[in-house]
C-alpha cells in the first residue's frame, strides 16, 4: 500500500496536482522568456528612423497649432513663437522618452501577470 504524506490540517495534498501546477507555471514562464528573447534587439537603423523625425515633426505640429491659434485669435506673431517653444519642448520630450526606452530597456513585465510569484 502506498503511504500518502499527510499534513496536520486540511485535506491531504495531491502531489500529482501540485506537480502539474508547478509544471504549468514553469512552462508559462519559459514561454514568456523565449518570446521576449526572440524579439529583435532595440537600437539600430530602425530606432534611428523613429527618433530622427520626432523632433522635426513636433516642431512642425507646434508651429502649425500656434499658427492656427493666431488665425483665430489674431495674436500674430506671439502664437507662432509660443507654438515654436512648445513644439521644441514636446519634441525633446518625445526623444527623451524613446531614448530612455532604448537605454534602460523595456519595463519588467508586471501588468500581464495577475498572480504573485511565490517562488
Amino acid at each position: 500500500m502506498v503511504a500518502v504524506p499527510q499534513m496536520s490540517e486540511g485535506t491531504p495534498p495531491d502531489p500529482l496536482r501540485q506537480l502539474g501546477q508547478r509544471l504549468d507555471r514553469a512552462q508559462r514562464e519559459r514561454a514568456a522568456e523565449t518570446r521576449h528573447a526572440d524579439a529583435p534587439p532595440p537600437g539600430g537603423l530602425g530606432f534611428g528612423f523613429r527618433i530622427g523625425i520626432e523632433l522635426v515633426a513636433a516642431l512642425c505640429v507646434g508651429l502649425a497649432l500656434g499658427w492656427v491659434f493666431d488665425r483665430f485669435v489674431g495674436t500674430r506673431p506671439w502664437g507662432l513663437i509660443v507654438g515654436f517653444f512648445l513644439g521644441v519642448a514636446a519634441g525633446m520630450l518625445n526623444v527623451f522618452r524613446e531614448a530612455k526606452g532604448l537605454i534602460f530597456g523595456p519595463p519588467p513585465p508586471g501588468g500581464d501577470r495577475r498572480e504573485g510569484r511565490l517562488e
Partner: protein
Amino acid sequence: MASETSPLGQFTIERLVSLHIGSLDISYTNSALLMTIVVVLITALLVGTTRHASLVPGRLQSIAELSYEFVLGMVRENVGDADGRQFFPLVFSIFMFILFGNLLGLIPYSFTFTSHIVVTFALSLFVFLFVTVVALIRHGIRFFTFFFPPGAPIIMAPLLVPIEIISYLTRPVSLSLRLFANMLAGHTIIAVFAGFTVALGIFGFLPLAFNVALLGLEVVIAALQAYVFAILTCLYLSDAVHLH
C-alpha cells in the same frame, strides 16, 4: 509641377482612366493601379499558397507563413496576448500593404505610392484616429488623464498639459512624415545619380556603382520603414490599451 525629365518627375500622378462625379475627380491613377496590384499580389500570396497547404511548406507558402508569424509575434509582444489577437488583422494589413508598396516601387518604371504625403498621411491619420477611439472606448473619460503625467507637481499642469497634447498630436505627423521622407529622398537620389550616369559618359560607371549600392540600401529601407510603421502602430495600440 516637375517636368518629366527632372529627378522629381517620377512622382507625377497620371490619370489612367478619367472619372468624375460632379466636380469630384475620382480618376483611376497610376497610384491607384499600384495599390490594386499590391492588394492582388498580397491576396494571391496568402490565399493561393495556403489553399492546399502542405505540412512541410514549399517556398511561397513559407513566405506567407513567415510573414504571418512575424507580425503575429510583433503584435503579441508589444500589445499583449489577448488584445494583440484583436488588432492583428489591422497591423498585418498595414505592414504588408506598406512593405509591398515600397518594394514594388523599386522596380524601374514603376510608381511608389508611399512617396506621396497624402497616402502616408491617410494611413497614419487612420491609425491615429483608430488608436484614439480604442482608448476612448476602453477608458472613457479617464483617457484624458494620459495628458497629465503621474508624479508631476500640479502647479506645472498649465505648462505640461499643452506639451503633452502636442506630443500626442505629433504621432500622426511623425508617422507619415517618416515614411514619406524616406521614400521620397531615396527615389530622388537614385534618379539624380541615374542622371549623372548618363551625363558623364565614359565615367558613368562611378555613379552607377553608387546607384547599385543605393538600390540595395533602398530595399533594406523599404522593409525597415514598413516594420517601423507597424511596430509604432503596435506601440500606440499598447498605449491605448494599457497605460491610459
